[in-house]
Amino acid sequence: MLEIKNLHVKLEDEDKEILKGLSLTVPKGEVHAIMGPNGSGKSTLAHVLAGRDGYEVTEGEILWNGESLTELEPDERAAKGVFLAFQYPMEIPGVAGLTFLRTAANAVRKKRGEAELSTPEFLKLVRGKAEQLNIDMDMLKRPVNVGFSGGEKKRAEILQMAVLEPSLCVLDETDSGLDIDALKIVAEGVNALRSPDRAMLVITHYQRLLNYIVPDRVHVLSNGRIQASGGKDLALELEKSGYAAYQGKAA
């Protein structure tokens, strides 16, 4: 279970607070969506969960399965099962996709006390998952994300997620830059990973993605806090009425 309690976050080198007492609980086996206007703190939340530098948690805590994440390095969080699918996946020239995937998979397995994958085991694993996501193995021989289209990058993110088998998946605006076909493929990939042992947090600006990844709960994030929570219908309502009604003030 993910428990975020009264989380206050500011940029390290600026005094402006971005998250202002955010509280949220996502039980295992559930998919929660976070929707909110631009500048509400959605991406900050995603990055803070993954442990990115440059943010300072001034108050509150993040617990994953009862364990605090706030002091952990990003790779330690990954080993604990945290995975962030990036809104803008990075290009890494000179590092082949398969090398990257394998290094990551084995680093995570090592930290979890599991045996590293042999080359045939690894290739079998990747081939199966890549096929589901309509990713050509040749694409993975190329440098990570270099020259990929927006859709290819997002599919590659979901492939990484599938290979690393995280228990907490945070998807940061995974729908941005996707056409409808790519969106369907990505959503199918995500849905295939839904499991009773896995919690998912889907961050999005638009309701459209939630037609394909149907959430158990929807939260409205605005002005650094969760302003409202509800079932999947809340997303539809937001699509109609906009965020204006939820421009809450910080406590």
Binding site: D53, D75, A78, F86, I92, G94, V95, T103
Partner: protein, 462 residues
Amino acid sequence: MSIAQQITTETKGRAAPVQVLKTKAETALAEAFAQAERSLPGGDWLRQLRRAAIGAFGAEGLPHRRVEEWKFTDLRAFMREAFPLATDAVLPKPAAIEELVRDALAGADLAKAFAVFVDGRGAGEAGLSAISEVDGAFLARLADHPPPWLEAEISEVGGHVGDSTLALNTALFTDGAVIDIANGREIDTPIALIFGDAGSESRTVATRNVVRVGKGAKIVLVESHLVPNAPRQVNTLTQLVIGDGAEVVHVKLVASREGSIHLGRTVARLGANASYRPFEMVVGNGVVRNDLAVTFRGQHSSFDLGGAKLVSGHGHADTTLVVDHAVPHCTSRELVKCVLADRGRGVFQGKVIVRPDAQKTDGKQMAQALMLSQDAEFDSKPELEIYADDVICGHGSTSAEIDPELIFYLRSRGIPLAEAQAMLVESFIGEAIDKAEPEEVQDALRALARGWLAREAQSAGK
């Protein structure tokens, strides 16, 4: 070096050779020549050449920072003293030669065709392994009565006044490889020139290699200077004459160590429709200067340089290049990358001269550094001298730290910091190593880079 030992005195900002005062190192080198002269190989022709050369060296002295070509590599400051000339080298045992051949470029099989030198001397019969297509010999054995072409080549590159380290090589070289490839020979097997050292004393070592590649011939030359066991001041020169339509790949590896200086030089002249693809790799924490002079003598030829330098400690790695587009329709490319740790310093100077007749010249250069430390330094100086009007010439240079966004991306996938950094450094340097050929050599260079990174990560973690 004391001020009194300065070779010139400056008056009102203008260097005036009022009185030639030599530094300690310069004096020692001149004395070393006088003592060793009788024992240096070569007939009268070479003796005269050597005397002229030591005279030229004496007049100019060691280059220093006020000499434009050496402004970033103050050799006079680096070489406060000159080590004694290596004259005591003993013939290595076959097992030691095998070891040198194996270690010259670990992972690549160089055992088929090689010439091994220990402290500047050919390592006897066991030090020379030829394949039938290659005519190879030790220079020292030919120097008394060289074939006319060899005498002409050495004389052409040897007698220059105006470059004192080259003159010093001519004066002092004790041996080297002579390789003559007949017209039309295409040889896939790498031909390895391997330079090691013996003993525990500090020594000066000078070698000269002469490689002639006939028309339409193809070779892969691997020149490896192994990390010295004891401090070495090496002055080594490889001259290549590349015939019309010939293709030469030339991989040069220098493993350096603190307290050592490697002055390397390559002089290549290309005929028409020829291709010269050198790759230089420098690893370590010593002082390394590689001078590369390339002249196009025939049209439609190409030169493509790759470089990867991994510098740590107080290491210094300088690549200084002069490409002379003397004729039209030639192409030159340079991609040199430096990874600089600790107080490591990388230097790239790339001069491209396009002569008035050299229309349709196409030249591009790029020098890049990845700084792993706040104390590292990178100096890059392109110099384009273009006298023709219908040419494409460009240059670029970058220096940067590892992108923290990329580090976060890798770490978010579970890859620990040190490993993430190593991956990104490898990806940076890998783009340059991609240019090295053949594949076996490229893999070996990549492994070498990986080993360096692992050692760096380990020492950083301590």
